[in-house]
Symmetry: D5
Subunit: 117 residues, 10 copies
């Protein structure tokens, strides 16, 4: 996975930093490529976080995720890596990423990763 | 956002102030305008609160929310601001506002804000 | 609201008083009248309680609820008043009443009231 | 209703005019204003048509529909008028418009209008 | 059933009489009384009609249906009688009324009546 | 199957014999006994008919169906026999009976029988 | 209720007694008789238990439950009595029985009983 | 596919041969093996037929279908072959077989085959 | 769109050419690129056809569809072009392709194209 | 049950061992054989675990589960045995296995087994 991907991700100032509140973002159109078979993988991503000083800018999140379109990367890896990028740019107080992948060979997977400051 | 919006919001006397009980109000027809694109946004609002001395008057809540129809305002801002107005007029013991917005560019958002006296 | 309504409510002896267990009763056909507009309101009531010495008799509960058919009464009031009647006749260890009302002006309401001995 | 609304609607050349095929477009975020009460109405529009020489351009359809946002107009009128505008600009072989409006006073409406060349 | 009920029903001029189109109206909050047991019945009514010179006015339809609230009348009778009233006031080209009643004794009923000019 | 079962079934006069209309009756609580294994069978019955001079009386239909509770009878037989009883007592213009039985050994069955005068 | 019913219930040796694990058994085809009206009642039973030395044998559970088919017994009684029989034969570490009964007079009931060693 | 499979299938006499009626049988637990990959395939089969002189015996149908458990056979082949076996043993007036297979590589298939005497 | 795409599509011999039967293939993981915005589009494709001498090979269909992953092409164009490729390689007796695309700007589209020999 | 089954199961290195995260794997196509009747059983398995040094390799899990296809084994046994195999090969920090089996004789079962290091 390209280390420059996270440069695409942008944030904007949280106008309500004194209050803990939750932002949930649902991205049902995630696709990457299986590094073993070269076949496309499809899934949905759900981000759930408590912003600190900044919130994620939605359009930049969309463009950031599009970069994985032709990237060969495993389920476990991509989920952990995306949360790491998210945390490094948005620096939330808490964050969860849930990635649900569609069935392959009759088996489907969900990866859930948490971050706490 | 116009600071006079909250003047529209009315409350009436809670007849059971000795008991903590929960009122949940679901408003699936919320619409405002994206300040960046000028395009309309659509969402649903769920208020869940424990009343103290007063309850929110439903018709005034409807009229209050209609004021946002042509207002340019971001998701995070409008959700926090509406809860602030609600708390300032109704003065509940506890309150939660959950705002779910419809997808834009394949991405949808939910903002959840809590208030505790 | 007529104070004699609760006379209709009957209970029978709980045969298992040594054990805490839960009875949930779902009444999807509740209707009363809005005291402001004179228009009918519709909703569902869910009772969930732990019986002490007695259980509520279901037919009497049905007849008790039918009395509200032409009664002008607000959502918050009717929910609290019905739980009070229920508690006074059935004297449960714990009880919850959840009342869900159908949308008016695009807005729907749920009232949840709890009682603990 | 403003007669210039239809100027916003644009079409593009159908590249497969030799074949009858069906295009269905679902617009769940339609809103206008009730001319009697001044209160907003909400609904979804489903267009289903067989294109002739042109297809409707989706972004222009979105902008066209946004013009009704502050327009006072009845359900039956707006549905017929939108189909007329659609037919006059896109000139399809056949077209159906189904408009579903959310409940008011416990009653909801669907209007279905058909056009055949 | 009181013969004056239909006086409550009002219509307004159909602005598109040259075109056959369909209006469907869903009334999920219908209630009357069983003439045998005196117990309330609950159901939903779906009107589906092609207007001729007039359309039904929705508020008057609501008030018309509320009149059955304390009326003792059988399922088959009330469905046929309401369609007759509807046809006599609105004079549609075609009309269907589907009435679905909630279960009694574990059995539920649907009555479907059609009218063709 | 006992030939006297049909004596339980009652009808009442159809007050709208000049009009073809449809009555659908859903009985989700049907049970009989498998004649081979002696184990209970469970299913739902849907009657759909156009009445002629009479309609079926619902309470008598309920009691009629309860008679099968301890009767040993095959799916195909019971469905045809019940429709025959229904037709002989109610003499409808048209009638359909759809019987859906719950799975046994991972296989479930639906029997649909039609009658036309 | 016949005290010999529990003799039908059988258990077999739990092969994993060193580990607390959960067995949930869903029986959607329970039927008994209302002792007041003589009419059949229908419901579903969900057993959820942690086995100790034995597990319930499923075929014997089915035969045990069939014995209630013509037994006149109230909802609250039958649920408590079945859990008592289950505990006395299977001697689980913990057990819950949830019984959901279908609507009568527009009202449906759920009884939930727990047992802890 | 073994030609002796159909010997397992049994029928019994149709007691209502004078009437055209429909029997639908749903088998959600079908499994065979992909002849190319050796991996198991899973699907559901729906038979819908009008019996002539005989009906299919359900237990024999279950045993017949179990024979495919370790058989290597393609979707299109197995569906056509099973309908042929069914028709040859049961000799229905009309029959349809719908086979739905679970997704492989993100793609799922349904095969629908009809037979008319 | 690259004219060589169809070379990827393969067929195999239909073993039951004497019988008209239906094959439906559901591909929920289709993605291409919007030629105007460069942003990815997502949708599902449903093929429904009656084979003549050949059936489509599913793995080749999957690989064929993957070629559109980075192709800039409009909804109407891609649907018609895929059906043309399908017909040219598989030469079915009849074929339908239904393409459902996810919402953009709150609007979603379905394109349905038919082919008859 | 063959003790060599677990040899099929493979794992790969967890690249994020410093973080507790959850992997959920859903296998809806599990089948084994009832040791008493010889008839096939069908069910779904849900694994939910926190990996330590390794993650389970999905293709090997599929092949591992296929081995049970012709194995005679009880519900409670197979669920516990599969979790034991999983834990012995993957050595997770925590793991849960939930096995849901389809109805037999109108009764369905769920077995839930937990492992904590």
């Amino acid at each position: 996975m390209n280390q420059n991907f996270r440069d695409t991700l942008e944030s904007f100032e949280n106008q309500f930093p004194d209050r803990d509140y939750i932002i949930e973002i649902f991205c049902p159109e995630f696709t990457s490529v299986c590094p073993k078979t070269g076949q496309p993988d499809f899934g949905s991503l759900t981000f759930r976080y408590v912003p600190d000083k900044t919130c994620v800018e939605l359009k930049s999140l969309k463009l950031y995720l599009h970069q994985f379109r032709n990237e060969g990367i495993f389920y476990e890896h991509v989920t952990n890596a995306i949360l790491d990028d998210f945390v490094s740019v948005v620096t939330p107080r808490r964050a969860t990423l849930i990635a649900k992948f569609t069935p392959r060979g009759g088996i489907s997977s969900v990866i859930e990763v948490n971050y706490e400051k």
